[in-house]
C-alpha cells in the first residue's frame, strides 16, 4: 500500500511538471486583459492598423501590392489625386489646364510644401520624379500611364508644363497613381528612395520591419494641417481570422479585411465600413482560336451567365454585378447591353446562330493563390453554362503558373481579378488600345474598339466622354469580348473608440482619412 502511495506521488510530480507548468503561464496570462486594453487605447500608444498582407517595398514607383499603396499613400503625395467620388482633385498641383489641342498640360504647384528632409517642393522635383518613372531601370509598370509624355518643362519654381506626343486627356487620371508620386530630386539623385521614404504627405516614415510592421509618425509641417494621430503602426496579421481576434482583444484599432465571412461576423460593437474595391472579376476569353473565336458562341456564354448567383456563391452576396466599367462617372449601365441577366433561351439561340446547337466545350483557368474566390466563381458558372449545353472545364493553377500562362495568352478562358479605374482609357487602353501592352492576354482586338478608345482619350468634354465610354461598354459586351462578372467589397473594421475614419475606394488614398482620425 505504501509503495503504491509512493508511486502515485512520483506520478504526481511528473504530471505536475507537464501540466502545472502548462497551465500556470496561461492562467496568469489571462489575469489582466482589461488593463492591457486600456493601455492600448491611451494616447501615447500607436494607432494600430492590421492587414493580412505586409508592406513589401518602400519605393513608391515600383510598388504593386495593395497595402504598399495604402501605407506609402500616408507619406507621399501626387500632383493630382482621386477624391472619394473618384473625381480628379488637386493635391500638390492646385490647378491645371490643357492647351495646344490637349497636347500640353500645365500644372500650378502648391507653395510652402516641404519634404520630410526639410527641402521645399518645386517644379524641379516634378521633373526629376517623372523622369525617374520613365527611366527603364526604375521598372515602373505605371510608366505606361504617361507614355505620351515627351518632355517636362519647368515654368518657374511653381509651375510645370507636360508636353505630350499626342492629345491625351487621360494622362491626368494616370497622374493620380502613387506610382507617379512626387519625390525629392535630391533623394532621387543620391538613390535613397528605396531605403528611406521622403515625401510631403501627412505622415513621415519611422521604421519598417519587412514582413511584420511599418510605422509612420505625424508630419507636423504637413501642408494640409497637423494630423491628430501621433503614430500609426501597420501590423501584419497573416490571416483575417486572426485580425478579427486581434480586434476583439483590443490590440488593433483598425482592421482591413477582404473576406466577407470574417467582416460580416464581427461583434456589433465594431463599426464595419465597406466600399466597392477598385478591381473587378471577369472571365477573360481568348477570342482568336477554337469555339471562342465565334462571336455567337461567346454571346451564348454571356447570356447563360447568372452574375447574381456568382456573387452569392463566391463572396456570400457581398458584391455587385458590374459591366466593363465597374464604377465612377462612366460606370457601365446596364452591366451588359446583351444579356444584363441570365437568359438561357437567348443563349441557346446564340448557340444555334454559332452553328453549335448542341453546345461546345472550353477550359477556363483559375488560381486560388491569386484570387481565393476564383474557384467558387468557376464552379458556379460551370453549372450555369451547363444549362445551355456549354461545358466549361476548370483548371486551377498555382499563382506563378497562372501568371505565366496569362501573360502569354496561353489559355482559352481565365478567371481574373483586374484593376479598375474611373477612367476607361486607363483601364482598357492597355488591353484593347493601339499597341496595347497587354494585348496578348486580352485576346481580342478590333479597329472599331481601338478607335473608340483613342477618341475617348482625346475627348476633352465630359458629355462627349460619357457618350464614347458608353459606346465602349456596349461594344465590349455586345461582342462578348470578356464576360464581366462582379465587384466585391473591401472592409474596414473600426474599433468603437475611433472617430472620423472613413474608408475610401481609392487605392492610394484609402487610408488618407487617418490624417483626420481621432481616438478617444
Amino acid at each position: 500500500m505504501g509503495r503504491l502511495r509512493k508511486l502515485r506521488a512520483i506520478s504526481a510530480v511528473a504530471l505536475a511538471g507537464g501540466v502545472a507548468a502548462t497551465l500556470a503561464g496561461g492562467a496568469t496570462a489571462l489575469a489582466s486583459p482589461s488593463a492591457k486594453s486600456v493601455a492600448r487605447a491611451s494616447s501615447s500608444a500607436p494607432f494600430v492598423v492590421a492587414d493580412s498582407s505586409s508592406v513589401q517595398k518602400l519605393d513608391p514607383d515600383i510598388i504593386t501590392n495593395f497595402l504598399d499603396f495604402q501605407s506609402l499613400g500616408l507619406i507621399y503625395d501626387t500632383l493630382v489625386e482621386e477624391n472619394p467620388k473618384l473625381q480628379v482633385a488637386p493635391d500638390l498641383a492646385t490647378s491645371w489646364t490643357f492647351s495646344n489641342g490637349n497636347k500640353a498640360l500645365t500644372f500650378q504647384l502648391r507653395k510652402g510644401v516641404k519634404f520630410d528632409d526639410g527641402s521645399t517642393f518645386t517644379s524641379a522635383d516634378v521633373v526629376a520624379s517623372l523622369k525617374r518613372v520613365q527611366a527603364p531601370k526604375t521598372g515602373d509598370a505605371s510608366a505606361s500611364f504617361i507614355s505620351s509624355l515627351s518632355k517636362v518643362v519647368p515654368e518657374g519654381p511653381y509651375a510645370v508644363k507636360l508636353v505630350l506626343s499626342h492629345p491625351d486627356v487621360s494622362i491626368l487620371e494616370g497622374l493620380t497613381s502613387l506610382n507617379l508620386a512626387m519625390l525629392p530630386a535630391k533623394a532621387i539623385a543620391n538613390g535613397s528612395i528605396a531605403k528611406k521614404p521622403d515625401g510631403t504627405g501627412p505622415f513621415k516614415f519611422s521604421s519598417w520591419s519587412p514582413g511584420n510592421s511599418f510605422t509612420v509618425v505625424r508630419n507636423p509641417s504637413y501642408w494640409g494641417g497637423k494630423p491628430a494621430l501621433s503614430t500609426i503602426k501597420i501590423e501584419t496579421v497573416p490571416s483575417e481570422q486572426s485580425i478579427a481576434s486581434a480586434l476583439q482583444a483590443h490590440s488593433v484599432q483598425l482592421g482591413l479585411l477582404t473576406e466577407p465571412q470574417v467582416a460580416t461576423h464581427l461583434p456589433s460593437t465594431y463599426k464595419v465600413q465597406k466600399v466597392l474595391s477598385l478591381s473587378y472579376r471577369a472571365l477573360m476569353l481568348q477570342d482568336k482560336t477554337g469555339p471562342l473565336a465565334n462571336v455567337n458562341a461567346r454571346r451564348a456564354i454571356a447570356c447563360a451567365t447568372n452574375r447574381k448567383q456568382i456573387v452569392g456563391d463566391a463572396v456570400f452576396g457581398q458584391g455587385v454585378a458590374v459591366g466593363p466599367v465597374p464604377l465612377g462617372p462612366f460606370a457601365s449601365n446596364p452591366v451588359s447591353s446583351l444579356c444584363p441577366t441570365q437568359n438561357i433561351s437567348m443563349a441557346k439561340s446564340y448557340l444555334k446562330a454559332a452553328g453549335m446547337p448542341n453546345g461546345f466545350s472550353f477550359t477556363a483557368i483559375t488560381s486560388t493563390d491569386l484570387d481565393p474566390t476564383s474557384s467558387a466563381q468557376a464552379v458556379a458558372m460551370q453549372s450555369q453554362l451547363a444549362q445551355a449545353g456549354i461545358t466549361m472545364n476548370i483548371q486551377n493553377l498555382a499563382g506563378d503558373a497562372y501568371i505565366q500562362d496569362w501573360l502569354k495568352g496561353n489559355f482559352q478562358a481565365a478567371f481574373a481579378e483586374n484593376g479598375a479605374d474611373p477612367d476607361p482609357y486607363v483601364m482598357y487602353g492597355r488591353y484593347f488600345g493601339t499597341g496595347a501592352n497587354l494585348g496578348v492576354p486580352a485576346g481580342y482586338s478590333s479597329p472599331a474598339l481601338q478607335k473608340l478608345i483613342l477618341q475617348g482619350d482625346e475627348a476633352a468634354s465630359t458629355p462627349v466622354q460619357t457618350k464614347l465610354w458608353s459606346s465602349l461598354s456596349a461594344n465590349l459586351t455586345n461582342n462578348a469580348v470578356w464576360i464581366w462578372l462582379f465587384d466585391a467589397f473591401n472592409y474596414a473594421a473600426v474599433a468603437p473608440n475611433v472617430h472620423g475614419f472613413s474608408l475610401s475606394p481609392v487605392v492610394g488614398t484609402s487610408l488618407q482619412a487617418l490624417r483626420s482620425t481621432t481616438i478617444s
Partner: protein, 317 residues
C-alpha cells in the same frame, strides 16, 4: 567516440550540400521569377527596356550553375546576400526572425517533453486504469487534431471570450518585456507541444512497460529497491533511449510546424518569413532559411547520437 563525431560532422556537411543543391534546383523549377513574383500580371505592362533592366537587376537569366556556386561561396564566407523583395540583407531578416523561432521551438519542446514524459510514465505505472485513459485521451487529441486547428481554436476562444490575444500587440523580445514575451510564446508553444507530447507519451509509455517486465526490474523489485529508485534509476533510465530518439525526431519536425503556428499566432519568426519569401520568389532568403532548418535537423540528430553514448555506454562500441 571522437572519430565517430568527426564522421558525423563530415556526413552532416555532405547532407547539407545535398539539401542546398535540391532546394536550389527546386526553386528554379518553379514557374515564374523574381520579376513576375514582384509585379504579378503587371509585369506585362513593362516595356522591353524596362524588363531587360529588371532582369539584370534581379539576376534573372544568369546561368544556374554560376548562380549556385556564387551563392554557395558567399554563404560559406558568411555573406548571405540581399533579399530580392525588400533589398535588406538576408542576414538582417534571418537574424531578426531566428531567435523567435528558436524560442518557440525550445518552449514547445520543453512543454512537449513535460507533457509526454509525465503522462507516459503515469500511464505506464497505471496501465489500463483511469490515469492511463486520461493520458491516452490527451495523446489521441494531440495526434488526431492538426496544430492549425488547435491554434485557430485557441486564438478564437481566448480573443472572443477573454479579449486576450497577446501576440497581436506586435512581438516583443524576452529582453524588452519578459512578461509579455512569455505570454506571446506560451500559447503557440502549447499548440505545438500537444502533437510532440503525444508522440513522446506513447513512446515513453511503451518503453516503460517493456522494461518494467524485464528480469532486472523484477530482480530489483524482489531485492526490495524503493519505488522511487526503481522508477527513476532502473526503469526510466533504461527506457530513455527510445524517448530521446523520439524527442530528437520531433524537434526536427517542430521546425516545420512553426511555419503554420507562426502564421496563426502572428509571430514574425523564420516560418512566416519563409512563407512570404516563397511567395515573393525571394530565392536568397528561401535558400538560407531552408539551410537553417536542415542544419537544425541534422545537428539535433547528431546530438541525439551523442546522447545515446552517454545514456547507454554499450552504444560507444
Amino acid at each position: 567516440m571522437l572519430l565517430g563525431i568527426v564522421r558525423r560532422i563530415v556526413s552532416m556537411a555532405v547532407t547539407l550540400f545535398g539539401v542546398a543543391v535540391v532546394i536550389f534546383v527546386v526553386l528554379r523549377l518553379l514557374p515564374g521569377n523574381a520579376v513576375t513574383a514582384s509585379l504579378g500580371v503587371s509585369s506585362g505592362l513593362l516595356t522591353h527596356a524596362q524588363l531587360a533592366a529588371l532582369n539584370h537587376f534581379y539576376g534573372v537569366g544568369e546561368p544556374a550553375v554560376q548562380q549556385f556556386f556564387s551563392w554557395l561561396g558567399s554563404t560559406l564566407t558568411g555573406n548571405l546576400g540581399i533579399s530580392l523583395a525588400s533589398r535588406e540583407p538576408v542576414s538582417t531578416l534571418v537574424g531578426a526572425a531566428l531567435p523567435i523561432t528558436l524560442e518557440l521551438a525550445l518552449a514547445s519542446m520543453v512543454l512537449g517533453i513535460l507533457i509526454g514524459v509525465g503522462f507516459g510514465m503515469i500511464g505506464a505505472l497505471h496501465p489500463g486504469r483511469w490515469q492511463d485513459d486520461v493520458g491516452q485521451g490527451v495523446s489521441v487529441v494531440g495526434l488526431a487534431i492538426p496544430s492549425f486547428v488547435i491554434g485557430t481554436g485557441l486564438v478564437t476562444f481566448l480573443s472572443s471570450v477573454f479579449h486576450y490575444f497577446p501576440a497581436s500587440q506586435g512581438y516583443v523580445s524576452l529582453l524588452q518585456n519578459p512578461w509579455l514575451n512569455i505570454q506571446q510564446i506560451f500559447f503557440p508553444a502549447l499548440t505545438l507541444s500537444l502533437g510532440i507530447g503525444a508522440a513522446i507519451m506513447n513512446t515513453t509509455r511503451a518503453a516503460m512497460l517493456e522494461v518494467s517486465g524485464l528480469n532486472f526490474a523484477r530482480t530489483a523489485r524482489g531485492k526490495g529497491v524503493s519505488t522511487r529508485v526503481l522508477v527513476w534509476r532502473h526503469l526510466f533510465l533504461n527506457a530513455l533511449v527510445p524517448v530521446v530518439t523520439m524527442s530528437g525526431i520531433q524537434l526536427g519536425y517542430l521546425l516545420g510546424g512553426t511555419v503554420i503556428v507562426e502564421q496563426i499566432f502572428v509571430l514574425p519568426g523564420l516560418g512566416r518569413l519563409l512563407v512570404t519569401s516563397i511567395n515573393n520568389r525571394d530565392f536568397p532568403v528561401v535558400q538560407t532559411i531552408t539551410l537553417i532548418f536542415a542544419t537544425g535537423f541534422v545537428v539535433v540528430n547528431m546530438l541525439v547520437d551523442v546522447l545515446y553514448t552517454i545514456i547507454d555506454p554499450r552504444t560507444r562500441r
